[in-house]
C-alpha cells in the first residue's frame, strides 16, 4: 500500500529545518558545557585525592600478589588443598558471625520500633502539628546522615567496648533510614479510610491504628527486612572500631598479615551476606505476594 507523504513548500521547510538545527545546536552546546564542567571537577578531585597513576601501576602488582597471598597457606600450598587448615578457626568465626547477625537483628528491630513510633509524626498527611513534624524530621535526618560507624566510635567510649555499642549505633542509624521510608509509605496511603474512621468520632490514635496501619504494615515489614540485610553488611565492619562482631577478627587478621585467615573470614562474610540476601528476598516476595493477592 502506497502512502503519500506530503512535502511542505520549500520556504516553510527551510524555516522548520532552521529551527530544528538551532535546537540541536543549543542542546549540543549545553551538553559540551556540562561535560567540560564535569571533567574540570574530576581533575580538581583527582588533585585533591592525591591520585597518582604511577603509584597505582607500580603497586598494581601488589593487589594481584595480595590476593595470591591470601589464598596461600603458611606452608606455601593453595588454601583449598587443605580446607581444615584454611578454616582452622571456624568455631570461633562462626560464633562471631552469629554475633554479627544478632547485632544487626537487634539493632534493626530497635530501629524499626523507634521509627514506627516516630513516622506518623513525620508524615505530611498524619502529623498532628507542623512544628512536631519539623522536629521529628530533623531528628531522623540527623540519625540518617551521621554514619553508623561514627555513632559506634562514640558509643564505644560511652558504653565500653563490645557488641552493645554496635547494636545502639545500628539502631540509631536504622531509625533514621527507616523513619524516612516509613513516613513516605504513610504519605502514599489512601486517606479515605482515615476520614471514615474519624467520622465515627475516633481520636488520632484510633485513626492511625485502624485506618493507616492496615494499609502500610506490609510495606513496613518489607523495608525493615531490606534494612536488616544492609545492616548485616554494616555490622561486619563494626568490629573495626571495637563494637563487636566478626570485623574485629578480620581487622586483626589484615593488620597482622595472617593472610589465609583474611580469605577465610572474607569468604564466610560473603557467604553469610548471600544467604541473608536470598532469605530476605524470599521473605519480601512472600510478603508482597500476599499483599497483591489480598
Amino acid at each position: 500500500m502506497a502512502i503519500a507523504v506530503s512535502i511542505l513548500p520549500s520556504q516553510q521547510l527551510a524555516a522548520l529545518n532552521d529551527a530544528y538545527r538551532k535546537a540541536v545546536a543549543r542542546k549540543r552546546v549545553r551538553l559540551t558545557l556540562a561535560a567540560a564542567v564535569f571533567f574540570a571537577a574530576l581533575v580538581v578531585a583527582a588533585v585533591g585525592a592525591e591520585v597518582n597513576l604511577r603509584t597505582f601501576f607500580t603497586y598494581f602488582g601488589n593487589l594481584i600478589s595480595y590476593f595470591d597471598r591470601i589464598f596461600t597457606l603458611e606452608n606455601g600450598a593453595r588454601v583449598w588443598t587443605d580446607v581444615g587448615e584454611w578454616f582452622w578457626g571456624w568455631r570461633k568465626w562462626l560464633w562471631m558471625l552469629g554475633e554479627t547477625i544478632l547485632i544487626s537483628y537487634v539493632g534493626t528491630l530497635f530501629g524499626a520500633i523507634i521509627a514506627f513510633s516516630l513516622n506518623f509524626f513525620a508524615a505530611e498527611n498524619t502529623s498532628p502539628a507542623p512544628w512536631l513534624r519539623f522536629v521529628v524530621r530533623r531528628l531522623l535526618e540527623f540519625a540518617r546522615t551521621v554514619p553508623g560507624i561514627v555513632f559506634a566510635l562514640i558509643f564505644v567510649i560511652a558504653f565500653g567496648l563490645g557488641p552493645m555499642a554496635g547494636v545502639l549505633a545500628t539502631a540509631i542509624h536504622s531509625t533514621g533510614a527507616l523513619g524516612k521510608l516509613f513516613s513516605e509509605i504513610v504519605e502514599n496511603a489512601d486517606m479515605n479510610p482515615v476520614e471514615g474512621v474519624r467520622s465515627t468520632g475516633a481520636g488520632w490514635m484510633s485513626c492511625m491504628r485502624f485506618a493507616v496501619l492496615p494499609q502500610v504494615a506490609a510495606g513496613y515489614a518489607s523495608y525493615a527486612l531490606l534494612r536488616f540485610e544492609i545492616n548485616v553488611r554494616e555490622a561486619s565492619v563494626m568490629g573495626f572500631v571495637g563494637a563487636g562482631g566478626i570485623g574485629q577478627e578480620l581487622v586483626v587478621a589484615v593488620r597482622k598479615f595472617y593472610y589465609s585467615d583474611v580469605s577465610a573470614i572474607l569468604l564466610m562474610i560473603i557467604v553469610t551476606v548471600f544467604v541473608i540476601d536470598i532469605g530476605t528476598g524470599w521473605a519480601r516476595a512472600r510478603l508482597f505476594g500476599r499483599e497483591a493477592r489480598a
Binding site: 571537577a41 588533585v47 592525591e50 546522615t145
Partner: protein, 282 residues
C-alpha cells in the same frame, strides 16, 4: 434514630466461607512469627550483654559527652578540616565516576536482553554479588595494603564496591528497557553494536545518570567513614579527635559532614531534575 439490624451470622458464614473457616496454620502464622521474632530479640539482648546498669551508666556518659560537645569549636585546625572535607568530596566524586565507567560495559554482560545465555551471565552476576557482599571499609583495608595510606586508597575502595552495586543496578535498568526501539534498529539493518548504541543507550542513560548522581551523594557519606581505617578524608580527623576525646572538635566535624552532605544532596537533586525531568523523579 433507626438501628441497624443485627448481623445474621449464619448467612455471612455461608457467603464468605474463606474468611470464617481459615485453617489453623493460617490463623497461627502471624502470632507464631511475632513470638519467634520477639524471642530472638530477647535472646539477643541477653547474649550481647545488655544490662540495665550498663545502659544507665552509658547513657550518663553519653549525656556528659553531649554536654562537652557544646559549643562546636574547631580550635585552630579549621583549615586542615576544610582540606580534609575537600579530600572527602574528591574521593566520592572520583570513586563513583570510575565505578560507573567500568560498570557500564560489564552491566551489558549481566543483562538478560543482551546476553541471553545464562551460562555467560551467571559468573558475571555472581562476581558482582561477591564484590557487593564486601563492605567499602573492608575494600579500603585491602587497598591500603596495595597503594599505601591516603585518599587514593579511598578512591579505589569506593570505586570497587560501587562497581558491584552499579553493575547490578545498570543491568536492571537495561533489562527494563523497551525492546521496540532495539527491534526498530535491527529492522533497518543495524548490527548488534548499533542496537546497543542507538536502541538501548538513549533509553537507559538518563536512568543511569540519575543513579550515578544518587551514588555520588550517598558516597559522600561513605567517604566520610573510610578515613577511619586510614584511607584519607575527614573520617581520619574525626576518628582521631574521638580517640583523644576532643569533643568540641568532634561535634564541629560532624556538623561539617552534615552541611556538606546536605549541600551535595541539594545539588544532586537539582541535577537529577534537570536530567530525568520533574515527572520521573516525583
Amino acid at each position: 434514630m433507626s438501628r441497624l439490624p443485627a448481623p445474621d451470622r449464619e448467612r455471612l458464614r455461608g457467603l464468605y466461607p474463606q474468611i470464617f473457616k481459615q485453617p489453623v496454620s493460617a490463623r497461627l502464622a502471624t502470632p507464631v512469627m511475632l513470638t519467634a521474632a520477639f524471642a530472638v530479640f530477647v535472646f539477643g539482648l541477653v547474649d550481647l550483654d545488655f544490662s540495665p546498669a550498663r545502659l544507665v551508666s552509658g547513657l550518663q556518659q553519653l549525656g556528659w559527652i553531649t554536654m562537652m560537645m557544646i559549643p562546636p569549636d574547631p580550635g585552630s585546625s579549621l583549615p586542615a578540616y576544610l582540606v580534609a572535607l575537600g579530600e572527602t568530596l574528591s574521593i566520592a566524586l572520583l570513586g563513583t565516576t570510575v565505578a560507573a565507567v567500568f560498570a557500564l560495559p560489564v552491566s551489558l554482560l549481566a543483562a538478560r536482553n543482551i546476553v541471553p545465555s545464562s551460562l555467560f551471565r551467571f559468573p558475571v552476576r555472581r562476581l558482582l554479588d561477591s564484590i557487593r557482599g564486601v563492605d567499602t571499609l573492608i575494600w579500603a583495608l585491602v587497598w591500603i595494603n596495595v597503594v599505601g595510606l591516603g585518599p587514593f586508597a579511598g578512591v579505589l575502595a569506593i570505586a570497587v564496591s560501587d562497581f558491584g552495586a552499579f553493575g547490578k543496578l545498570f543491568s536492571e535498568a537495561i533489562e527494563a528497557a523497551d525492546r521496540k526501539q532495539v527491534e526498530g534498529i535491527r529492522a533497518s539493518g543495524g548490527n548488534a553494536f548499533h542496537e546497543i548504541r542507538f536502541g538501548l543507550l538513549p533509553q537507559v542513560l538518563p536512568v543511569i545518570a540519575g543513579q550515578v548522581l544518587y551514588f555520588i551523594e550517598s558516597n559522600t557519606r561513605s567517604a566520610t567513614i573510610i578515613g577511619i581505617v586510614g584511607a584519607g578524608g575527614i573520617g581520619l580527623q574525626l576518628a582521631e579527635q574521638i580517640r583523644v576525646l576532643e569533643w568540641q572538635k568532634v561535634s564541629f566535624l560532624i556538623l561539617m559532614i552534615l552541611v556538606a552532605v546536605a549541600a551535595i544532596d541539594w545539588i544532586s537533586s537539582k541535577l537529577r531534575f534537570a536530567i530525568i525531568g520533574r515527572r520521573a523523579v516525583a
